[in-house]
Symmetry: C2
Subunit: 155 residues, 2 copies
Amino acid sequence: MEHRIDSIKKQLHSKSYKLTPQREATLRVLLEREEDHLSAEDVFLLVKEKAPEIGLATVYRTLELLSELKIVDKINFGDGVSRYDLRQEGVEHFHHHLVCMECGSVEEIIEDLLKEVESIVETDWGFQVKDHRLTFHGVCRQCQKEKKEAEENKT
Amino acid sequence: MEHRIDSIKKQLHSKSYKLTPQREATLRVLLEREEDHLSAEDVFLLVKEKAPEIGLATVYRTLELLSELKIVDKINFGDGVSRYDLRQEGVEHFHHHLVCMECGSVEEIIEDLLKEVESIVETDWGFQVKDHRLTFHGVCRQCQKEKKEAEENKT
DNA sequence: ATGCAATTTATAACGATTATACTTTGACAC
DNA sequence: GTGTCAAAGTATAATCGTTATAAATTGCAT
């Protein structure tokens, strides 16, 4: 944890940004809740627990900044709010998501499944790919199980 | 065109919705501009040319309705507005997009490039895929060309 | 200590979308 | 035809996420 904060601090400094206490508090929240896909508001409320005087705008600006530096990815699952997702250290591509339409859970896929598809796009469409976003909507393992059980209990 | 309107009319009726003049005008705009990815506001302005008395809320509700019936897909390229994209007749999956980071143009890929990836997700993650959204961000053929020419002129 | 630039705070403004209250339309019964 | 009713539409206000603004604070450099 401290190591990652330190590493990000260096990234900021290299672009002559500072790691202010507010920025650090925001980062810590993101690191602690790495599994989640928090909205700006979520982050704000969590940061407030650590640093009650922080303003919403600061959180937005910090997330924007981290987004520019590709430390977090700003994602959008179509529910009207932007969510922020910490990139894995050393992983340079965006990861994919499985969004469950039943329970709303979001699972992550770190593996890059798109190498092949990307090369098709580059050769067949002449499109130079810089980044990709892939989301699957469907039913997660857990909900499938629950639906199956509900089905069995009915009979 | 008339054929598609007719077909959609039947779909509406089968769910006991009516094809009102406002809904028809909205649909016609979507059919005429099938290539584009119009925002609700864009659609509203275009529909107004045909039917000046229409209200913005009606356009929103119509798009919402068409979205539920899977006649259009509501998509989001991360620029803060929802866009609406007519589904091809008989094509049941969402199509993919190539968004150019230079000029903002959006190209569509109708082919389903994800069959293989989907089966990996289903077997390895136990996730039942219902729909997918894939967007590539990068540089389109045209902008690559322009950048290359600009490069050559500099020397 | 003073000045300066970066940062933060608080709040107002903005833009997209949704909710509300009221009106219109059109099918059906009488 | 007239009355009734539900679906749909209009106009506008409200809401929500996000961004811009002005004033205050911080902290390094002179």
